[in-house]
Symmetry: C2
Subunit: 438 residues, 2 copies
C-alpha cells in the first residue's frame, strides 16, 4: 500500500522506497530497518520500519531525518535466511491460517502466508538459533471457520509430528476460536512426549506493534520444554516482555483486540515464556509416548446461553435436535423453572445436558438453590469450573468416545485434561491475575 503524501515526501527526499534498508534519526533516537508498506491502521504521517529484531516500529515523519543504507535487492542478498544448526531439536509448525500466519517478506515488504520453514525464519530469524523448524500448512482458514473435524485433524497431525521425532509442535492459529481448538485437542491427545503449543497474534505482522514475532518465539521456546500437554501461548501484557502459557482447557479470549486478550480462567497459568527462557509451574511433564489419540468427536452438540425470555419451546427444539447440549446458566448454573421439564424430557430420552455458568469465573454448584437441585434431579451434569466453550468440546469428545449415557456422564464428571480443578484452598496458588484494565 502506498504511503500518504507526508511519508512519501520523506522517502523521496532520501531516494528510498518500500523494501529498502534505511536509518531514521529523530530527537536522539536512531532506528535502522526495512521500509514497510503503509497500512490503514497507521496515521497519515507514520513511516513503518521493520527492525533487525523482527519487530516493527512506527516513526512520525515530523523532525525525522531519513538516510538510505541499501536498496531492497541488496538487502535480500545480505539477509538470506540463516540456516538452522542440524544438531538443534526439530520443532514442527502446523499452519492453520489466521493473523499470525501472514508473515512479511523482508525482500519485498509484502505480506504473504508463511508456509515453509524458510518463511518462518525470514520473519523471526531468532527461530533458527533455537531449533530446526519443520513447517507444513494444514489449513488456511480464519479460525471462525474451523469445524470440529479440523480439531481432529490437528490432533492427529500433532501426534504424528511428535511420534516422528519432533521435540514439540507449534500450531499458529487465528485467535477467534483458538481456545476452542486448544480444548478439543487437549481432550483428544494422550501420552504426549512433547508440548503441543497453540499460538496466535492479535495484530498482523505488517502492523507496528504486532505481537506475532514475540508470540511465535515464546511458543517455540515453550515447544522445547519438558511440557507434556496442550497449551496456548499469548502475550502476557501490553508490552513486549513476555508471554503467558495457558492450559489448553482453561484459556479464553476475553478482549476483542488487546494483545493480552487471553486469560487462564479459574486457574493460574502453567508458565511464562520470554524470548530467552521459559518458567513452568504446575505443568504436566512430557512422557515417553508414543502420543496417541483417545476417542473421537461427535459434533452434534449445542451450546445455549440461558437468558430471560428463552422459551421452553426454543430450548426443547435445541435439545431435541442434538445428542447433547451445554447450557451456560446464570450464577451457580441456573435456568428458569419452566425450562426444567424440557431438560428432564431430553435426558430421559438419553440425551446429555451439561450445566456451566455464563459468569465464566467461579464454579457451578447445583446444590445451593432449588433451581439447581431441580436440574440435578432432572439428570443434568454439573460442569464444575469448566468454561462453557471447554464443556462444548468435552461433550463432543465424550459423545464421540463413549457409547452409553452413563459412560458419557462419568467422563464428563472426571478431570480428563486439567479442565476440572479442585476448589482453591488456603495456600494454593491464586488463579491468574488479569491485567489492570481487562
Amino acid at each position: 500500500m502506498d504511503y500518504p503524501p507526508a511519508v512519501e515526501a520523506l522517502l523521496a527526499k532520501a531516494e528510498a522506497r518500500i523494501g529498502d534498508r534505511v536509518r531514521a534519526s529523530k530527537a536522539g533516537a536512531v532506528y535502522e530497518g526495512t521500509v514497510m508498506p503503509h497500512h490503514g491502521f497507521s496515521g497519515e504521517d507514520i513511516l513503518t520500519l521493520k527492525l533487525d529484531s523482527g519487530y516493527n516500529v512506527g516513526v512520525a515523519v515530523a523532525g525525522t531525518r531519513l538516510e538510505l543504507l541499501a536498496h531492497g535487492a541488496e538487502v535480500a542478498h545480505a539477509r538470506h535466511a540463516p540456516v538452522a544448526d542440524s544438531s538443534l531439536p526439530v520443532v514442527a509448525f502446523l499452519g492453520t491460517g489466521g493473523t499470525i500466519a501472514s508473515f512479511v517478506d523482508y525482500r519485498t515488504g509484502a505480506v504473504h502466508p508463511a508456509v515453509t520453514a524458510e518463511d518462518l525464519v525470514f520473519s523471526v530469524p531468532e527461530l533458527a538459533a533455537v531449533c530446526q523448524p519443520r513447517a507444513r500448512k494444514l489449513l488456511s482458514l480464519y479460525s471462525e471457520n474451523l469445524k470440529p473435524e479440523h480439531w481432529s485433524l490437528l490432533a492427529r497431525e500433532a501426534a504424528a509430528e511428535l511420534n516422528a521425532g519432533a521435540a514439540g509442535v507449534v500450531i499458529p492459529h487465528g485467535t477467534d476460536t483458538l481456545g476452542y481448538s486448544a480444548a478439543a485437542v487437549s481432550f483428544l491427545l494422550r501420552d504426549l512426549p512433547g508440548p503441543v503449543v497453540f499460538v496466535g497474534s492479535q495484530r498482523s505482522s505488517d502492523r507496528p506493534s504486532s505481537d506475532a514475532a514475540l508470540n511465535l518465539l515464546c511458543a517455540t521456546r515453550t515447544a522445547l520444554t519438558d511440557l507434556g500437554e496442550v497449551v496456548a501461548v499469548m502475550h502476557e501484557g501490553t508490552g513486549d516482555e513476555a508471554c503467558t502459557i495457558h492450559r489448553g482447557t482453561k484459556v479464553r479470549k476475553l478482549h476483542t483486540s488487546r494483545r493480552d486478550a487471553f486469560r487462564s480462567v479459574n486457574v493460574p497459568p502453567v508458565g511464562r515464556a520470554t524470548a530467552s527462557e521459559v518458567v513452568l509451574s504446575g505443568a504436566r511433564p512430557r512422557v515417553k509416548g508414543p502420543a496417541r489419540l483417545e476417542g473421537a468427536l461427535d459434533a452434534n452438540v449445542a451450546l445455549v446461553h440461558f437468558h430471560p425470555g428463552l422459551t421452553a419451546e426454543d430450548l426443547a427444539h435445541t435439545l431435541q435436535t442434538h445428542k447433547g447440549t451445554v447450557i451456560a446458566g446464570t450464577g451457580l448454573g441456573h435456568v428458569a423453572f419452566d425450562l426444567v421439564p424440557p431438560i428432564r424430557a431430553a435426558i430421559t430420552e438419553g440425551k446429555t445436558v451439561v450445566m456451566t455458568s455464563q459468569c465464566l469465573y467461579g464454579r457451578v454448584d447445583l446444590e445451593v438453590y432449588d433451581s439447581g437441585r431441580d436440574l440435578l434431579a432432572a439428570g443434568a451434569v454439573a460442569g464444575s469450573d469448566m468454561l462453557p466453550e471447554t464443556a462444548l468440546a468435552k461433550l463432543m469428545w465424550a459423545l464421540g468416545t463413549y457409547a452409553t449415557p452413563a459412560e458419557v456422564r462419568s467422563a464428563l464428571e472426571r478431570d480428563v485434561a486439567g479442565e476440572i480443578t479442585a476448589r482453591i484452598g488456603l495456600g494454593s496458588a491464586a488463579p491468574q491475575r488479569p491485567h489492570p484494565d481487562i
Copy 2:
C-alpha cells in the same frame, strides 16, 4: 437449624439459645449480639452472632467464653425498629425476591422475606437514620425466573414511585439476572427525577459474611444522590468497605459466588458508595421529570453464542422463529462464513440481527476482516461495545418501540442509555479495574 454439638454445649453452658442476646469473649476480642441459627456453610464449631451493626460474625467455640445478656423476648421488646424521622426523604423499596430479600428477624433469628419497611429497618437499622423507607413487594422470584414482562413492571413501578415523591428507588433483586433487568429498565425509563438502584446479595443475610446489609445501605445512600439513571450497586471488593455503582447497561456478573462478582465492562463505574458517603463520577444527574416510560419490550428475541459446530440449519431455525437475534460472535464479531447466507436471508425478510462479541471486553469491529464485512453487507448491525446481554434487552426494546427495520436499526446504532461508549482516547478515565483474582 440446630447447632452441632460443640456449639450447642457452649450455648447450654451459658443457658442461651437462638434469638438471645449474648456476649462472646475470646483472646481479648468481645462481641455482643444475637445468637443466629446454624447454617450448612459454617464449620461445626462456629457460633454465628448478629452484631448491632447488622453484620454477622462467626466465632470459633474453642477458648470462647459466652455470657447471656438477655433472652430473645426481652430483646424483641428492647429492639423495636427505630422510627424514621418524618423530615427525611422517602426512599421506595420495590422487592422482587432473591437472596437479598430474605432478612433475619432480630427477635427470633428466623429468616423471612422482608416485605415491609419495618422488616427492612429491623435488618439494617442504619436505614432509618438516612431515609423514610417505603417498601412494597412486587415479586417474589429467584431472578432466573424473571421474564421480560417483569422488567416492564419494574420500570413502571419505579417511575410511579419517583413521580409520587420518592427521592429514589431501590430494587432488591436476585443477582443471577440483575444485569439483564438493570439494562432493560434503563432502556424503558426516561427523564428520571431520581436514581433507580438495583441491589443484590451474593450471600444471604443468615450467613456470616453476608454482603446484604452493606449493599442495601450503599444502595440507599446512592438512591439519595443527584443521580438520574438506572444503576446497580454491589460489593466493591472482598472486604466490607465499599460498594461500586455500575451503570445499568454496562454491568455484568462475572463470578458465580464472590461478593465482588459484578463488574462494569468497558467503562469505569459511575461511582462508589460507602455506608456514610457516595462519590459519583460521570453519572447523569437527575432531571425535573416526571419520569416516563419510553416504548415497550418485544420478547421475541433470541441470543445465540456462535461456536465451531454451530450449523447453518440451527442458526436459520433460530433466526426464522424470532423477530430479532443477537449473536455473540467471536473476536471482533465474527461467525463462520457458511452462517452468513441464513443471516442475510433473515435480514432480507425484515428481521434484525445484532453482532456482539463473546469476548465481552472490547468492541465489535466488522470492518477489519472479510468475515465482518460480509456481515455488514448482509445488513447486520454492529453492536459496538455493548455486552451481549445488554444488546438482548436493547433489541427487545427497539422491536417493541419502533415499527420499521430502519427505525429499529437506527435505535440500535445510537446510544440510548450509556450502552454505547466512544472509543477510549488518551487522557480518558480507564475502564474499571477488576479485582486481583477475577
